[in-house]
Symmetry: C2
Subunit: 571 residues, 2 copies
């Protein structure tokens, strides 16, 4: 492709609204263009990147034995009512009525549709296993679309759905898809991590997320460098302290904390480690107050809380509710002396193992020190893991210590088991002629999100540094003086033709612009390899090669440049 | 691909609701599966066909210099309000509100979005011409979806949009797209015809439709076999009779027509040609009655009527309105003796040139014969072309006589000119620094409809006869006794491997079914070439080749079959 025949539209500055580097760079490089909130056009340059990602995804799905199909984006409400998700899914689902006032949605996912197909097409165990996928435009009406294509409302997703005879067969299919996902992200040249994950609104047993690692990632991931353990922090178990609770050593006493309303401030005033303090968080579920106790340096894990009995639908207590029960302003709340008949006290495992701790005194400007379970307050009603793991926690597999990193979720695979097949009566006859529900899995990749995530992991001050597998072009030929120098033009045209004939995705930048403009654009849009052709080096029979990733530059014999590029592209 | 690893799902009978052969066959062959009214899943077999069509379309768009992009399916109402089409488009547009109660539509077309992009991206004549396209899922809420993918609500469309500096440059771009469209349908192996067309709701000047020819086509096309003239009957001009009106030869008289309420019945009773009769059709526009006069054998062309001054929004008169004016039941209405001050009388050109004709007498059970313009009734208020052309009409280019055939519209190209660029203020600076609206064209191909249309043109009693370019597989290898005979299995596997290694889209039907079942399935799904491998012929070193299109069968030396197939595929 020649730049003169392509639509390249770069910007010096990104629009103010863009926050993340990838969002800014995608706008500046002209990969995407905003139509509305969470709605983006993939411009010709960006679509080339998206299509390369799609191609790798398709290839790995086909290798894994999945078959591509294409389901409608618009789905009738009836199927969602049958599964119970029409009411459950919430406002992320874009609903509409057709001209006959029938209810439809723009499919945010396709479990219902594929299960409807399977129940009518699959009758016998002889037809199983089956695995179908599609690459399709989805819509989720995010409350606050942001980060460009990373949290857009309309996006491209690859969703696959598998059908098996039993849990063991599903596990095998699932393992194959896990491998296929690993292959996709490896081939795309991304640093990624697969972690055990919560199943959320999709449901089922067992699930893994695939994350592109990046400092700006929305998800925190816990992994053990000395073992295989890796999980989303939402899910990672905080193991119970190994040592038993120590016996009380201090007397309980009031300490004056006139302005200290946080554990950090109290610890600083008292000159004690933050790990000696305990904080209190009040929740309401089923119209009852629940008091959560966490160590001062820990944070509440809402996913874990939501899984406790009676807390499936909790909310944070209002200040009015807090004052009504404690008769004390937030900042000084504590569990000692409260009416335990009216609340459920839930202590994190770590807190349950603490002694001589510091906690609010339930009166303004005071905390209590030297507090002990059993002596100063009755044991908690529930002891549970309700906190997020932190750097240095023991790994749940007992094989080391956890570290935390950040990631962008680009894939998620689920063992749905029979959740949908039972709801929609999707059954098959087994070898004994018994009717059984199919065992299902579902497997999603955020195809368009991958582009943003890849950039979030691969950029510098000059712009995007695309991995070769997803670069819009892999080689830029940049002549200096294409319109002016016959020799430069001839050399550039010849190199361009030679590379194109060998199937290289080459861009010849034949624009009549200053070299600085050409170089900056090629760097901004992230082309991995650049060859600069100018009169001066050409006089010595040489051209200049520049690697986008590390900026290394070398003068190369004109005759050797094709072999050099082919070698780098093959690597 | 091996059938055992693919999802083939054929039916003996098509569901009752399917009317057209293509719809029945697509369901029976398992190319598509219905989700709801006008909503179809493309099953793996069908998607292979759709993708082959897409690939040819993309390739020809790229060759024509168009650049692929991907715009959002969901579009904000504001742009459509700016162009005026939010109110105009009617109930075919699927509208919805997001969670913030803002109005959106599922884009039925993308003129507004692309014009919005162009007005912000294109500033100078130096950037033009530009031509963008996308292959995308569209939605049109048809009042009565039918014919499977041919009139579905959700469908795949290729839409392109061009921007030029002036009308001459647009005409050049348009000619290039006309050629690219011709190339697409030629490469797909379809009999098609390009015809001049009405611009309809899209608007602009000048337009051509591309039709796949098929007896079941919804459109009637007029063409002149001895010249280049071809137009949709909606648009084709019925030329004025060459001969001047003859002088009256008969006296006007009542003729008794007790039960004859149609021209056909009257002509039969009086034993005269239908061409001597005149019929009357009453329309209402702007609250005024309009009376159309047509020759008995002609039919009203509503598109032409809609273009007459004052008739842009007409409707047919109700029986009450007719009785109120004529005081006579329909079937005997006529133009003689009516109160001409209260109506507009519009005569088709052919009727205006008739003399001594027969028409209703405005009294029950009577017609008038020997009626003449000027003598028996005043000349018509308007003489115009308001009828559909028929076989044998003169060609408007004067170079022959028209014939009529039927077609399925699969492509439509428009010279929009400045309709959208003016509405959305999409301008550029010309070489003199003057701000001018861009000249636009738009170009659509019904990608998914092509599959249905191709089948409508290519089927027989055994099933689909896909042109090779769009067949899901091009060669079927069908072993007779694959599970039973080592020799058959070895020969089939070897042929399959050899063809696959040469890039042939080959399907090895390794199912353990009776040969009749295998043959019937391969014929139903329309694979152009089949090789049958059985013990008997194999003993003589031979295999059987069968051509799907004409059923010709030949025994071929085992060593010669690959060369034979490659030769046929290259042809």
């Amino acid at each position: 492709m020649r730049t003169s025949q392509f639509f390249l539209s770069t910007l010096k500055e990104a629009p103010n609204e863009a926050e993340l580097p990838s969002h800014k760079l995608m706008l500046r490089a002209g990969l995407i263009k905003k139509l509305g909130s969470g709605l983006y056009t993939w411009m010709p340059l960006g679509l080339r990147v998206l299509r390369k990602v799609e191609a790798v995804v398709r290839d790995e799905m086909n290798r894994a034995g999945a078959m591509e199909m294409l389901m409608p984006a618009i789905q009738p409400a009836e199927l969602w009512q049958e599964s119970g998700r029409w009411a459950q899914f919430g406002p992320q689902m874009l609903k509409m009525k057709d001209r006959h006032q029938r209810d439809f949605c723009f499919g945010p996912t396709h479990e219902e549709v594929i299960t409807d197909i399977a129940r009518s097409e699959i009758k016998s165990y002889k037809q199983l296993p089956l695995n179908f996928y599609q690459v399709q435009t989805k819509f989720r009406d995010e409350i606050r679309p942001r980060f460009g294509v990373m949290r857009a409302r309309e996006f491209v997703m690859k969703d696959a759905y598998s059908f098996d005879v039993d849990a063991a067969a599903l596990a095998k299919t699932y393992a194959g898809m896990y491998q296929a996902y690993s292959n996709v992200f490896t081939r795309l040249g991304l640093r990624f991590r697969a972690v055990a994950a919560d199943t959320g609104a999709i449901g089922g047993d067992g699930s893994h997320e695939f994350h592109v690692l990046a400092d700006s990632g929305e998800d925190a991931l816990a992994y053990c460098p000395t073992s295989d353990f890796a999980a989303n922090v939402e899910l990672a178990e905080a193991v119970a302290p190994a040592a038993p609770r120590a016996a009380p050593a201090e007397a309980m006493r009031d300490v004056e904390t006139p302005k200290q309303t946080t554990c950090e401030a109290v610890a600083q005033l008292l000159d004690i480690p933050l790990q000696r303090t305990v904080k209190l968080i009040a929740l309401v579920a089923n119209e009852q107050l629940h008091i959560m106790l966490l160590r001062g340096d820990h944070s509440l894990n809402e996913v874990k809380v939501g899984k406790l009995a009676g807390l499936a639908e909790f909310r944070f207590a209002t200040e009015e509710e807090i004052r009504a029960f404690f008769n004390c302003p937030p900042g000084f709340l504590g569990p000692v002396g409260i009416d335990r008949a009216k609340v459920r006290l839930i202590a994190d495992r770590t807190v349950a193992a603490m002694s001589d701790f510091v906690v609010g005194a339930n009166k303004p400007k005071f905390h209590l020190a030297g507090v002990n379970w059993g002596r100063d307050l009755a044991e908690a009603d529930v002891v549970a893991d309700i906190r997020n793991v932190v750097d240095g926690d023991g790994s749940p597999d007992g094989k080391g210590v956890l570290e935390i990193c950040r990631g962008i979720e680009v894939g998620h695979i689920f063992q749905l088991r029979t959740k949908y097949s039972e709801a929609l009566n999707c059954t098959y006859l087994d070898a004994e002629g018994v009717l059984k529900p199919m065992e299902m899995g579902c497997y999603g990749i955020g195809v368009s999100r991958i582009v943003g995530a890849a950039i979030e992991q691969n950029f510098d001050e000059k712009g995007i540094r695309f991995p070769a597998a997803m670069a819009p072009f892999t080689v830029a030929v940049v002549p200096v003086g294409y319109q002016r120098s016959e020799a430069v033009k001839a050399a550039a045209d010849a190199l361009y033709a030679e590379l194109a004939s060998r199937g290289v995705d080459v861009l010849l930048d034949d624009r009549n612009e200053r070299p600085g403009v050409l170089f900056a654009d090629m760097e901004l849009i992230g082309i991995p390899h650049r060859v600069t052709i100018g009169d001066k080096s050409l006089a010595d029979g040489k051209v200049e090669y520049v690697a986008r990733r590390d900026g290394t530059t070398e003068l190369v014999e004109q005759q050797a440049i094709v072999a050099l590029l082919l070698g780098k592209l093959a690597a």
